[in-house]
């Protein structure tokens, strides 16, 4: 069925698949998916980046495997198989982070295991990878993952700059910096997240209004030209 639908529209190119998640359908700021790690681990830019990379890896690997097996998986048991696949890669990530850095592992805490419950991952597996060939599915997943990482670093960067006076651990203000304690506490996550969402919705509304105005102009132009033609 997916074949018949996609044959009606031109299938998106691999590059379009990749950039979709970066900006146009950014998982955090546009689709508002995966809020749990977004709010919980973005205390510093480094934590955000690590969390983003871990999620990107799980997302890309799961989507690749789901897409590869999509013709073999009967729809009756698809959720079970997707979750098994996702849980596998979360476990792999968990092991890998323990081997890379124990400090990072402690900083991210239970949120590594909780990637398995990140609705972004299951959502993309179900909505995209299950009906797309492996290369496109993986590219789209990497794009989505990088978009997720970008948003997390944007939130974590602001929280670290205001909460600790540093960016990726590099002090920016010298030793007399006054930390904004609220930024490293949970409310800080909500404030910064809300601030970015506000900015994005304002920008989106502006561009929407511009597009509307342009289309109205175009329609007017068409009308006048049509009228001229008629005359």
């Amino acid at each position: 069925m997916s074949e018949s639908v996609s044959s009606l529209m031109a299938p998106p190119s691999t590059w379009e698949e990749f950039t979709e998640g970066l900006w146009k359908r950014n998982p955090v700021f546009v689709m508002v998916l995966g809020m749990c790690p977004t709010l919980a681990v973005t205390v510093t830019a480094m934590n955000s980046l690590s969390m983003g990379i871990a999620t990107t890896f799980v997302l890309a690997a799961s989507c690749f495997l789901v897409s590869l097996m999509r013709k073999m998986i009967p729809k009756e048991v698809r959720i079970a198989t997707y979750i098994v696949i996702i849980a596998t890669f979360v476990t792999v990530t968990d092991y890998a982070i323990q081997a890379i850095s124990l400090d990072l592992y402690e900083a991210l805490g239970a949120y590594i295991q909780l990637i398995v419950a990140n609705c972004l991952v299951l959502g993309r597996a179900e909505a995209h990878a299950a009906r797309t060939p492996p290369v496109e599915a993986t590219m789209n997943a990497i794009g989505m993952g990088l978009g997720f990482t970008l948003s997390l670093v944007m939130i974590g960067g602001v929280r670290e700059i205001l909460g600790a006076g540093a960016f990726f651990g590099i002090p920016l203000f010298g030793e007399h910096f006054q930390p904004w304690v609220v930024m490293v506490l949970p409310p800080g996550g909500f404030f910064v997240m809300a601030g970015w969402l506000l900015l994005f919705s304002i920008l989106r509304r502006r561009s929407q209004m511009k597009a509307d105005a342009a289309s109205v102009e175009a329609a007017d132009a068409l009308k006048t030209s049509g009228a001229c033609h008629g005359a």
Partner: protein, 236 residues
């Protein structure tokens, strides 16, 4: 769903008539499980050594922080029946307390490091403390993990007056060697009079108390088991 009505009708009946056979379901699930199982086991084996090394290094680092002369660190368990055994793999038996024996470069026992934990303001505060038998006192502390309010709770890491409490915090045992002679106690800022008291940081009382309570509880249990058998640990 977006397909025209005329085609969707036969498709549905088609799906009902040809429900996926049980064998296909089982085959799909087994293949997926087998593939996933392989991936998990492979990555486990690949990362096992590194992860173990990291864990050992992390606890050694924590021990060196409280006993700076330590060159070799060995983990032990003080069992509930009073035995001291080297700590092995897996979960320790119930009632056992983990501690580290630290040896200096000449292989002599420098001191003992152990962990204490107590509820702070936000969450459990876990501290590592170093113990030396010649003074029967605690000679340094380091925080293993905490989630206290930054700027307030984390003064226990930086406040010089507070850290000075642990230059020689008296934890000698009573004559029967059953408990500490004097309970380690956190007192209001500026009212420390005895060697076994901890002068709290003003404004950070709850976290200060958690540090004292964690040390007291761990020392009360560990030291009576450990001190009589300390000679056995002399050589690494």
């Amino acid at each position: 769903m977006s397909a025209p009505d005329t085609t969707s009708q036969p498709q549905e009946t088609d799906a009902l008539a040809h429900a996926t056979p049980t064998f296909t379901l089982l085959r799909a699930l087994s293949v997926v499980s087998a593939v996933c199982g392989l991936i998990i086991v492979a990555s486990y084996l690949l990362t096992l050594d590194r992860a173990k090394d990291n864990r050992r290094l992390a606890s050694e680092r924590a021990v060196v922080k409280v006993l700076p002369n330590a060159k070799i660190v060995k983990p032990f368990l003080a069992l509930a029946n009073g035995d001291i055994v080297p700590a092995g793999e897996g979960d320790p038996p119930s009632g056992a307390i983990r501690f580290y024996a630290a040896y200096d470069e000449k292989g002599r026992l420098d001191g003992i490091a152990a962990e204490g934990a107590a509820k702070g303001y936000a969450d459990i505060v876990r501290v590592m403390f170093g113990y030396r038998k010649d003074c029967q006192c605690i000679v340094g502390i380091g925080v293993v993990s905490m989630r206290e309010t930054p700027g307030i709770g984390d003064k226990i890491l930086t406040d010089k007056d507070f850290l000075a409490n642990f230059n020689a915090l008296d934890v000698r045992l009573n004559d029967e060697l059953t408990a500490l002679a004097n309970e380690v106690k956190v007192v209001k800022h500026g009212t420390k009079t005895e060697k076994w008291q901890i002068d709290a940081i003003s404004g950070t009382t709850i976290t200060s108390r958690a540090v004292g309570k964690g040390i007291n509880e761990a020392a009360q249990v560990l030291l009576p088991r450990l001190v009589p058998k300390l000679d056995r640990l002399e050589k690494p």
